[in-house]
Amino acid sequence: MHELSIATSLVASAEEAARAAGARRVLRVHLRLGALSGVVRHALDFAYAMVIEGTLLEGSELVVQELPVVVYCATCEAEQTLPTITCFRCPTCDTPTPDVRQGREMEIDHLDAELSESPPPPPSSGDGQRGHRPMPVPPWRRG
């Protein structure tokens, strides 16, 4: 049940990031979890539900993106996705390969959060325009 330790670290890191960004409540935590991370999903969900109590994450949802193992096959000279973690052989040419390129991840990608109450909008400049227009946003994720 090391998921309790993992959930504790996860919630502490997420809460620290949320506070730094001025969040008052976290709605969702997006986690990237590799097939070789050694984490059991339902055990993590269970531990998460316990650990978030009394934190900014209380009531939040843990959204997990599961990542399969990707290895590098020297014969194919290409990265290959493995359908299982119990057979480290290239699915194309059957060459054994220990060269793991993806699958050990256990990382927080991002949070969906509510920020602290917004300051009141600045007084109108009288030209009929509303103040406090949200800034345009650059793309926030790769791809």
Binding site: S13, R25, L36, I85
Partner: protein, 249 residues
């Protein structure tokens, strides 16, 4: 401090959302907070610091992981006496000092970590156990992890090598059942090989299981009572020590 970047949630952007926000000026805004951070970052950071400390002190740190009862302590008892190097052990268990007491009889410095309810060692426990030890006076420091084939896999202790034990009294397919820990190991030690015949242990099947989850993993047959003995294991350890410390070896 986390590397934090924030961006407004796209669903609340634009003119459509604006009247609502203006109407309820105290309403909070939903945001995406980018984190991109390893969950075990604190442990990993500390482990990296420990790794550097070990390297600077010239000590090879070996993390032994296995299921309970596979023979970690017995292997170490014999290893500490047979190796012509300066060795020490940190041993983790949920409770008791039994293993430390056994290992201390060899004369090597030994410290026990009682983890309480924790099923694995973490870097901060190891750092605390190192308090007051002169690492420069050591060649090899063994860390005998808590007997568990699942949890210790996720925690880096700053070790140079991770060694997983598989005993002949366990099933040959253990590596297939616990692929993560075998996959992250640098060598596998087959223990209690003197019992292989009487137990009907199928070595080829065990090797095949290990190869399936970690192709090319070095395999070392051992027994603390009779053949095949510890020669392969001691030779591997000595080679590891030489590789990590080419100057002093």
């Amino acid at each position: 401090m986390a590397n934090v970047a924030i961006a407004p949630c796209p669903s609340l952007r634009g003119d459509a959302a604006e009247p609502l926000l203006s109407l309820f000026s105290t309403m909070s805004q939903a945001r995406i907070i980018e984190v991109r951070q390893k969950v075990l970052r604190k442990n990993d950071t500390l482990a990296a610091r420990l790794r550097q400390r070990y390297q600077e002190a010239g000590v090879l740190v070996v993390n032994l992981v296995s299921s309970p009862g596979s023979g970690k302590t017995a292997l170490l008892e014999e290893t500490l006496q047979a190796l012509p190097l300066r060795t020490a052990v940190i041993v983790g268990d949920l409770a008791t000092e039994n293993d430390a007491t056994r290992l201390a009889r060899t004369g090597a410095p030994v410290r026990q970590i009682a983890t309480g309810t924790t099923c694995h060692l973490e870097a901060d426990m190891v750092e605390a156990a190192l308090e007051g030890w002169d690492l420069q006076a050591l060649d090899i420091l063994f860390i005998e992890n808590v007997g568990n084939l699942v949890c210790p896999a996720s925690w880096d202790l700053g070790e140079a090598v991770r060694v997983v034990l598989l005993s002949t009294t366990e099933g040959e397919d253990k590596p297939l059942k616990y692929p993560t820990i075998f996959n992250t190991a640098d060598a596998a030690v087959l223990t209690k090989m003197d019992l292989a015949e009487i137990l009907g242990f199928d070595r080829a099947a065990a090797v095949s299981s290990i190869e399936a989850v970690r192709p090319g993993l070095p395999l070392l047959d051992t027994s603390v009572r009779g053949a095949p003995g510890l020669d392969a294991w001691l030779a591997w350890l000595t080679a590891q020590y030489a590789t990590h410390h080419p100057v002093s070896a």
